[in-house]
């Protein structure tokens, strides 16, 4: 297990000392290879707080976590000798807004910033910048441009490239597709899926888009008021009772399938995750 949370709770401090319980007794384990996970939940349910624990930006107020063999407890005394930086190299976290991290004069320098912080030399960092920019689907001419003159989608890609160049074992993305047009969103999701399949890395995505959840993920985590209420297969998640319990949107493909079943009395049983699979099934039935 690369990441293991045991009864992790986190309370935000506030002036009136009441505090806000953002995480409540979360138990979760994540492999360092081959997982594609989506994390869903309403705003304020503790999704971002949870992922910020995964690379030790925040440490639990109760419970313990183990990230790549490094133990982090809720007691600040025990965490004193813990080196947090190696964790951040292994677990790459991309924040929702690229504006919070872009600062260099050129895109290339900005992408190189992360690797260089972890002791990678100049030449290797340059090489990684070229690889990373290609991975996120931008061509090399972007390397010489200023990160502030890019469009929203391009900034987002550059910020993701900045984390990819650190070559983390686990890649976590906080709402990477928010504010993008449908085509850009699909292209970016494809990028993450390719990283997952070609490099066999674990990718975790926070999203509000149920279609993404249903089509790509084999595992889905559902947060609700600071608690992890579901951890498992997305197909089971979208059964009637769960959808009612947690106010979830139903993915388009399931709606289409159900409509076809009731209108035309077609037998579409079995898991159909995307359009292609549905079309294939329909062709089978017609022939």
């Amino acid at each position: 297990m690369a990441i293991k949370f045991e009864h992790v709770s986190f309370q935000y401090k506030s002036i009136d000392n009441k505090g806000y319980l953002a995480l409540n007794e979360v138990n979760v384990a994540i492999e360092n290879k081959g997982e594609f996970i989506t994390l869903i939940g309403e705003t304020g349910s503790g999704k971002s707080t949870l992922v910020q624990h995964m690379n030790a930006l925040l440490t639990p107020t109760k419970g313990a976590m183990n990230i790549f063999g490094i133990k982090i407890s809720s007691k600040s005394k025990e965490n004193k000798n813990v080196k947090f930086n190696p964790i951040r190299k292994q677990v790459g976290l991309v924040f929702q807004f690229p504006e919070y991290q872009l600062f260099e004069e050129t895109v290339e320098k900005d992408i190189m910033f992360g690797p260089k912080n972890f002791g990678v030399n100049e030449r290797e960092a340059k090489k990684r910048a070229r690889e990373a920019i290609a991975m996120v689907g931008l061509d090399e001419s972007y390397l010489e441009r200023s990160p502030f003159n890019l469009s929203g989608g391009e900034k987002k890609r550059v910020s993701i490239a900045g984390i990819l160049a650190m070559e983390p074992d686990i890649l976590i993305l906080d709402e990477p597709t928010s504010g993008l047009d449908p085509r850009g969103r699909d292209a970016l999701l494809k990028v993450f899926y390719d990283i997952h399949t070609s490099l066999n890395k674990t990718v975790l995505i926070i999203t509000h888009d149920m279609n993404t959840v249903y089509e790509y993920a084999r595992r889905v985590l559902v947060m609700r008021e600071g608690e992890l209420v579901y951890d498992g297969d997305p197909v089971k998640l979208f059964s009637r009772t769960n959808v009612d319990n947690w106010n979830l949107d139903v993915p388009d493909i399931i709606r289409l399938k159900q409509a076809l079943e009731t209108e035309f009395k077609l037998d579409l049983s079995g898991t159909i995750r995307n359009k292609q699979a549905l079309l294939k099934r329909l062709e089978e039935l017609l022939s």
């Binding site: 930006l57 951040r88 910033f113």
Partner: protein
């Protein structure tokens, strides 16, 4: 946050119901009165009156003390400076100071010891005074150990008097302004300031704009702090360790925080300007207020009392001890 100056603390008591204009004007009048006082005795009476005012107004003396704490260094500095360099009046104390290698070593050792152990004691002020006395003893009494230089330390009556006088004056001024900021919300303070500054319109200074600038800056302090925190987290994800690092790395760390900070602030101000324009904000146009300030009897009484204090201090300045 440990800084108490300029921080509103919710509470009850008559200071809270007072009009912000009254508080600002009274503060100015009382400050002038404080500067007119020229005897230590009157200064002590003034301090006594302020403490009485705080008790009646239900303001914790501890809070005001916390407000004074960041100024301790300044107070100490002016005190020591006055005591050592003001050479008027009778000599109170005269000692020869010897500088020998051993006494220098002992003195520095004692101060270093104080620096490292002051965290662990509960009687910080007492400990500090004891260390100062110790250093004084080392330099004045242990003079027989081959001194390579010597000088005279003399404390004059006037020096001690002036030192205490200036310290008390500073304490009074800071206490008065702390009372104002503790009991007035930043928005009310700003509104009061706008009204008080109105006469400046004669000089073609647009006080409404100044007030608007102040209130927007106050509004955005927590937002920007929040933003800075998010940037720090995002950069920490990229391996920036804000706690450690060499000097060269530190510069880079600060740049990686400041550049996004600037860009986000400019973006925010641009968005705010658009939002204000979308709601038909015209700079300098006549506007009505949501909260209209109302002048009460309490306010008139306060101003009259403050003016009385001013007249009294002027009178005592012209005819001391009538």
């Amino acid at each position: 946050m440990k800084v108490v100056i300029g921080r509103y603390v919710p509470g009850t008591g008559f200071f809270y119901t007072m009009d912000p204009r009254t508080k600002i004007i009274a503060l100015i009048i009382l400050m002038v009165a404080t500067f007119l006082i020229d005897s230590l005795m009157l200064m002590l009476i003034a301090i006594g009156l302020i403490v009485l005012l705080m008790i009646v107004g239900k303001i914790g003396i501890k809070r005001v003390y916390l407000g004074l704490r960041p100024l301790m260094f300044l107070l100490m500095f002016t005190f020591v400076f006055q005591v050592l360099f003001n050479r008027q009046g009778d000599i109170l104390l005269k000692r020869t100071v010897f500088y020998s290698p051993l006494s220098l070593l002992l003195g520095i050792g004692l101060i270093v010891m104080w620096l490292f152990t002051k965290k662990f004691t509960r009687f910080k002020l007492f400990y500090f005074v004891a260390v100062i006395a110790g250093v004084f003893y080392i330099f004045t009494e242990l003079g027989d150990l081959n001194p390579f230089a010597q000088s005279t330390l003399a404390i004059y009556e006037e020096g001690l008097f002036m030192a205490m006088f200036i310290m008390l004056r500073l304490i009074i001024i800071v206490t008065l302004s702390t009372i104002l900021t503790i009991t007035t919300k930043p928005t009310d303070l700003n509104l009061g300031l706008e009204h008080v500054l109105k006469p400046l319109k004669v000089f073609r200074i647009n006080t409404e704009d100044i007030a608007m600038i102040i209130s927007i800056s106050l509004r955005y302090i927590p937002t920007l702090l929040d933003e800075a925190n998010k940037i720090m987290l995002a950069q920490a994800s990229r391996g920036v360790d804000f706690k450690e690092g060499k000097l060269k790395d530190k510069v880079m760390q600060i740049v990686s925080l400041l550049v996004p900070m600037f860009i986000i602030s400019f973006k925010r101000s641009d968005e705010l300007a658009n939002a204000m324009e979308a709601r038909s904000f015209v700079p300098g146009a006549k506007r009505t207020r949501l909260h209209v300030l109302a002048w009460k009897t309490l306010d008139s009484v306060t101003i009259v009392v403050a003016l009385l204090a001013l007249t009294l201090s002027i009178t005592l300045r012209i005819w001391p001890w009538i």
